[in-house]
Symmetry: C2
């Protein structure tokens, strides 16, 4: 018997992910607050449901991709939420970036209803979502992971079962720690080159071939050179993710000085007029502002 | 007429680079303070010279790979230095990491002697030196770069003419800025995973497939997991390179907060007993020490 899937939240990431599930031949029921976002899915043969509860009634595996902890809670347990329509033994898969602590609480509440949760945040951006090449970091029970693995295959190229409930979200936090420090390093490197009168494009080209190679240097470094800050991944969402790290780390934040620094600088960027909607590569403008003395030093 | 090359400084990087030049069929004269280091070169058909001046008398292009600014100055202008034996129109190629300011001064002095300098520091480590896949960042005149380009082909896979004298060393400084911040991000990410009770090896595996991919995560992340701090690239040399950045940046250092932070933490590592001789991936132990409250917060 084929697994019937559901997908709730058809935003920049969710819509192409749901389309990839459908194109891989999986039976799919979808819901989005903005019905327009569901149109390509319906054209591809998905069923449209008018609430998260209705999706849950139709599906054994329900994917969610919404914006933050509060939105996940509303989709799960709000009026006409998933909990109101859960099938016995259903698996809910949260593919957004949610705090590990909230994730563990949601998992406990779903277990009390005879269902289970996998946390499965992703890395790779809209391009990875479209191409089905996301990195997917999964937390939850191994048996649930095994059941959903064939569906993950349609979404990602690197699917790793990291550990129990919340472990996927911890991995995503680690991802954002590594990405933020790298982004800061690339911004400082290109700014230093410019300050020294050396062409930053040639510096980037030279660095791409050696130990400094990173996907961030390749993609965000190019955006910094072109001053192309069309998202991509919005600075305000990057800041939100670093806020999750800060909240989870608690006292341990003192041992994450680069993460703390990146969070402070990302906050400065977001607090500029409208910059929160720019790609997070715009962090380079904060470094440049500090160099020019227009922004106080960190 | 074939260019005759020389190579001075046959250390961890210089020896395999010189061997690659020789194996590519280039006529080669070598010199090292420790004659034992020259033995594999002589076995491969290189001539052995007893001083930098003697190398210079035999070669049109003289490569140098020594430890720091003072060593470069001694090889160039000290007793029996290159300057004492320079052929007319010779090109000296400094492949070590030297400060941009000292590089520009050396280039000026060599020009006064009818010779020229290319600064050509590398990235890619001992493995890249052996495999001939280094990234080579070159500063100097375009005509000199064109003359040496066929020789660079034997050494590196990514050879970029960055700009005029010193520009290669600026690019190398940028490389160390990007590498240091990335190293710090990887150390913090893996430490955060451990602090949250999540397997850092699985986190690294998940991160390798997404936006957090970097060569540092791949190579140094693995060393951090294995607690394998056999160099590789020694922490004291990494600190030396960050000292160059600090000296060159001057007042602009305030706009390089992640670089400054990495420099401070690398200094803490080096000041531990013997840790300067460890691979710079040992930076993770400083982060762990801060988490455990054994090392004061940055």
């Amino acid at each position: 018997m084929q697994t019937r899937s559901g997908f709730i939240g058809l935003g920049v990431m969710g819509q192409p992910m749901a389309l990839n599930l459908r194109r891989a031949g999986h039976a799919l029921t979808v819901h989005a607050r903005n019905r327009e976002r569901a149109r390509p899915l319906v054209e591809a043969g998905a069923e449209l449901a008018d609430s998260p509860a209705a999706v849950a009634r139709a599906a054994d595996v329900v994917f969610i991709n919404v914006s933050d902890d509060a939105a996940v809670e509303a989709v799960l347990f709000g009026a006409d939420g998933i909990a109101a329509g859960l099938r016995a033994g259903a698996i809910v898969v949260d593919m957004g970036t949610t705090s590990p602590t909230a994730t563990r609480a949601f998992a406990g509440r779903l277990a009390g209803l005879g269902a289970s949760l996998l946390d499965a945040p992703v890395s790779g951006g809209e391009a990875g979502a479209r191409a089905g090449t996301l990195s997917i970091m999964v937390g939850g029970a191994a048996t649930d992971f095994a059941r959903v693995a064939p569906l993950f295959q349609a979404l990602g190229g690197n699917v790793v079962h990291v550990g129990p409930a919340g472990a996927g979200q911890v991995a995503k936090a680690c991802n954002q720690i590594a990405v933020s420090a790298t982004l800061l390093g690339v911004a400082e490197a290109l700014t230093f080159a410019r300050a020294q009168g050396v062409d930053p494009a040639r510096v980037r080209a030279a660095l791409l071939g050696g130990s400094a190679y990173s996907r961030i240097l390749e993609i965000h470094g190019q955006r910094m050179l072109e001053r192309n800050f069309t998202p991509g991944f919005r600075a305000r969402l990057h800041r939100k993710d670093l806020d999750i790290v800060r909240a989870e780390a608690g006292a341990a934040l003192t041992a994450l000085p680069a993460t703390r620094l990146a969070g402070e600088l990302m906050t400065r960027l977001v607090e500029e007029n409208g910059a929160g909607e720019l790609d997070s590569a715009a962090l380079v403008t904060v470094i440049e502002g500090m160099l020019a003395g227009k922004i106080p030093d960190a």
